[in-house]
């Protein structure tokens, strides 16, 4: 009898203590980028990564950059310029207000009309003409033209309660207006220091993994890595390549690498006959621009050793690229061959084009924008010197580089420069960076060498006029093949995404380099 009572007491005691045995799972992330608290003020992918935690949107992108439903369960085009989105029923905001079509409409309107936005979201949804609520769960979006890529743009617009759409950017900065419907609720924010969120128990999607998520903003690479090694954070993003080996050899750290959306390539001035940074091999002015000759562009392309660049200069955190679009998008063309590496052939081509002694060329790059951009620039200078060119390597901070590089007047711009243009679902690379420059038609604003090819333009035009994404991607795929055959741009490599965590955690990387708390899991 005593034993039975004893056993019963022990069981009772255990069952009482069981709730305390379950531990809270918190995640602390050391993030490189800080965020803007107003979700409609700055259109930046690093901002969207944060908003993915707190807010929902009509659609959302997954880690392979494919679009899928979020608030909108389904959609249809009732006409080429009108879309109807059917919302998920029963969604509540973090303040228990119900989410209806009116909130969606108000949020999209706010994103389109917010004053003082330096990178306005109007750029993401430029084809949207009007938004209205047909009923509580249906939103109608009217566009000025057929825009099959609308779904991608709408994925950037965070949905906030209609009652808060009159809120100023200031009230977001203090945190009072930060109400969303995402997997995590806002808790606190200290500018320049950290943002804290906690699980939203009423979330409509997959159960959020963590009880509390804290992002600490540590912009300096060395300090961020030190924070992980010292155990102050559980996960860090944007690991610099030079520290990958150090982290891999640390006993308490895991390193995760994945392919990213960002190809890095070289742009050549093919418009001006007197290009300011191209001179003869003795410094004399040239009568014509050597980069206008396809043989010279071919020589430069095969004079660069992409494998060496990816393995050594990028220390494995890159994949050699055959074209300036990321390979996992349907509009990249698999029939474009990877350029070989052949210095002798390159020299022969240069001689055939009339430059047996080469010429002088300055290459311009940023030194604080892309991973290892300064080192890549120097590597390019060295590799092209072997082909016979007199190279001058200039690296600049991006605040100086970009205004000069994007100046489309004839006396501006560099002759030979490095750029990274992220590939995305809406394939903005083609009208913005490959199509010939036209100020009136608003095309080619990132075609910084003013490359112009009627066949490429025609293919891009077909793509822009296509009624669905498949047609668009197919036409763009043709365009990139023609462009690469003509050596319009020199593709180098696609950056890799590198994330490091403490032992006991694993992380699935995102192609668009977003840092998402729920992609980390304890194992």
């Amino acid at each position: 009898m005593k034993k039975v009572i004893l056993r019963a007491l022990v069981c009772a005691g255990l069952s009482l203590s069981l709730p305390t045995l379950s531990h809270s799972a918190d995640l602390t992330i050391g993030a490189r980028a800080e965020l803007a608290m107003d979700p409609h003020s700055q259109w930046l992918d690093t901002n969207t990564a944060y908003y993915n935690h707190i807010y929902s949107a009509l659609t959302k992108i997954d880690e392979k950059s494919q679009i899928g439903p979020d608030l909108a369960l389904s959609w249809q085009t009732v006409s080429p310029t009108e879309w109807h989105f059917k919302l998920r029923p029963g969604i509540k905001f973090h303040n228990d207000e119900a989410l209806t079509a009116r909130d969606v409409v108000a949020s999209i309107q706010r994103a389109r009309t917010l004053p003082n936005a330096t990178s306005p979201y109007t750029g993401a949804i430029s084809s949207v003409q009007d938004v209205s609520a047909i009923d509580d769960l249906t939103v109608s979006v009217k566009t000025t033209r057929a825009d099959p890529a609308l779904l991608y743009g709408l994925g950037y617009i965070s949905i906030i309660p209609e009652s808060l759409t009159k809120a100023t950017t200031d009230s977001f900065n203090t945190g009072t207006s930060v109400i969303g419907s995402g997997p995590y609720k806002f808790v606190s924010y200290r500018a320049g220091d950290r943002i804290v969120m906690e699980r939203n128990p009423g979330y409509y999607g997959a159960k959020p993994r963590w009880d509390k998520v804290m992002f600490r903003f540590i912009a300096d690479d060395g300090a961020r890595v030190a924070a992980l090694l010292g155990g102050d954070v559980d996960l860090i993003d944007f690991v610099p390549p030079r520290l990958i080996e150090r982290l891999k050899s640390a006993p308490n750290v895991n390193v995760f690498t994945g392919v990213s959306d960002r190809p890095i390539y070289l742009i050549m001035d093919t418009e001006r006959d007197d290009s300011p940074f191209i001179r003869g091999s003795n410094g004399e002015k040239l009568t014509k621009n050597p980069l206008k000759d396809r043989r010279v562009r071919e020589a430069l392309t095969i004079g660069i050793d992409r494998n060496l660049m990816a393995k050594r200069v990028m220390e494995g955190a890159a994949e050699p690229a055959s074209q300036p679009v990321a390979p996992h998008f349907a509009y990249s063309n698999p029939s474009v061959p990877m350029p070989g590496y052949n210095v002798d052939e390159a020299k022969k081509l240069m001689a055939a084009a009339g430059y047996p002694n080469g010429f002088s060329l300055s290459v311009h790059c940023t030194n604080d924008r892309y991973v290892n951009d300064e080192k890549i620039c120097q590597a390019i200078g060295q590799m092209l010197s072997r082909v016979g060119l007199k190279m001058d390597v200039q690296t600049l901070p991006r605040s100086v580089f970009f205004p000069m590089a994007t100046n489309h007047k004839p006396e501006g711009r560099y002759s030979f420069l490095l750029l990274g243009y992220a590939s995305s679902g809406d394939a903005g690379f083609f009208p913005n960076a490959l199509h010939s420059y036209s100020a009136e038609k608003k095309l080619g604003s990132w075609n910084l060498g003013h490359y112009s090819n009627a066949e490429v333009d025609a293919a891009i035009g077909r793509g822009l006029a296509a009624s669905d994404l498949k047609g668009r991607y197919a036409a763009f795929s043709d365009a990139i093949k023609v462009a690469m055959d003509d050596r319009a741009l020199i593709p180098l490599y696609t950056q890799s995404v590198v994330v490091a965590t403490k032992k006991g955690l694993s992380y699935t990387t995102w192609a668009n380099e977003r840092t998402i708390a729920d992609s980390a899991s304890a194992n």
């Binding site: 800080e34 803007a36 608290m37 107003d38 003020s41 700055q42 259109w43 930046l44 004053p115 003082n116 936005a117 330096t118 990178s119 306005p120 109007t122 750029g123 993401a124 430029s126 950017t169 200031d170 900065n173 500018a191 320049g192 220091d193 950290r194 600490r216 903003f217 540590i218 912009a219 300096d220 060395g222 300090a223 030190a226 924070a227 090694l229 010292g230 155990g231 102050d232 604080d368 901070p397 991006r398 605040s399 100086v400 970009f402 205004p403 000069m404 590089a405 994007t406 100046n407 243009y421 992220a422 995305s424 809406d426 903005g428 913005n432 100020a439 608003k442 095309l443 604003s445 990132w446």
Partner: protein, 324 residues
């Protein structure tokens, strides 16, 4: 004294105006910041519209006058990156930098002044020479290297101190500071030590030189002859004599550390204004840069005014209104 203060404040205002013109012209010369800030996938019409809305297509003097009109109302612009008012950002982050700098200066003074006095009083003793050498090392070693070494040794190797950031703060008498919590102390120790080497070295060398200069003066010889102890002479007579140049230089060093303690704040992820300005420069966030530089000018002007008044109070021979 009151008239003097008013005149100095007026000069400060003129200085601010001149500085604002300089800064504005210099930053304008860099070029259009929009291409760096705006998402490259934005269509051209959105880019043009944004340039127009921010007034960046206006000529330089129009932009400057617009800025001036807003500035006198206390609005120094809104950050391009975070959309927060620039002045508010600076004022919010300033206490963190002030706290760190005051801690570093206190450590530097408390250690540096006695060491400097000893080194000056007995320059040829082993202790005196050692102090002199240490002060040279303190100035020469780059602070980012010392910072990273401190983190590597104490945070990663031994794990006794955190790798960065500011600790929890507590409020006493309305002042909020991380010095009032134990967690705060563990976070401020390393950055403060990292920051104190430069001022400490300066204090040691200045004090030492001052002592060397004063020790041969008549009143010190008389005190020695009277048989006063070394400690009494050092702290009671020599220290007040050298305090004028010491305070003047300390004022400047304090201002420099406040405005440009960027390296320490970056390495230790300390959320102060140094980290703010370096990020603003890198991202081309013009309103923050302009607001910050004006703030710095004001800071230096105020510190110098305070130092001058302090010197006049300490030394009755100094007349603020100039020699008669």
């Amino acid at each position: 004294m009151f008239l003097y203060t008013v005149i100095r404040l007026g000069q400060g205002a003129l200085l601010l105006l001149a500085m604002s013109v300089l800064v504005f012209v210099a930053i304008y010369a860099i070029g259009n910041p929009i291409t760096m800030l705006i998402n490259p996938s934005s269509p051209q019409e959105v880019i043009d519209e944004t340039i127009r809305r921010l007034g960046l297509d206006q000529p330089l003097y129009v932009q400057y006058l617009r800025f001036l009109a807003q500035a006198v109302q206390g609005n120094l612009g809104v950050s391009y990156i975070s959309s927060q008012p620039a002045l508010r950002l600076i004022v919010e982050r300033f206490p963190a930098t002030l706290e760190l700098t005051l801690t570093a200066m206190t450590i530097a003074s408390v250690i540096g002044i006695p060491l400097g006095l000893v080194a000056g009083y007995r320059p040829n003793s082993p202790l005196g020479r050692a102090i002199g050498t240490i002060s040279i090392i303190g100035i020469s070693l780059p602070s980012f290297w010392i910072g990273l070494m401190l983190i590597t040794i104490f945070s990663i190797r031994f794990g006794i101190l955190p790798t960065g950031g500011r600790g929890q703060t507590a409020s006493i008498l309305g002042f909020e500071s991380s010095l009032f919590t134990r967690n705060g102390w563990s976070h401020i120790v390393m950055p403060a030590i990292n920051l104190c080497f430069f001022p400490m070295a300066m204090i040691i060398r200045l004090t030492r030189a001052g002592v060397r200069e004063n020790i041969t003066s008549n009143h010190i010889r008389y005190a020695r002859a009277k048989g006063l102890s070394s400690t009494r002479i050092l702290f009671g007579y020599i220290l007040p004599s050298i305090s004028i140049p010491l305070i003047t230089v300390l004022g400047i060093v304090f201002g420099v550390l406040l405005a440009f303690g960027v390296v320490t704040e970056t390495v230790f992820a300390w959320p102060g204004i140094g980290k703010l300005i370096i990020e603003a420069i890198r991202t081309g966030d013009r309103p923050i840069i302009i607001a910050y530089l004006l703030f710095t000018v004001l800071l230096f002007a105020l510190i110098n005014l305070a130092v001058d008044i302090l010197c006049a109070i300490i030394d009755p021979r100094i007349s603020l209104s100039g020699a008669r």
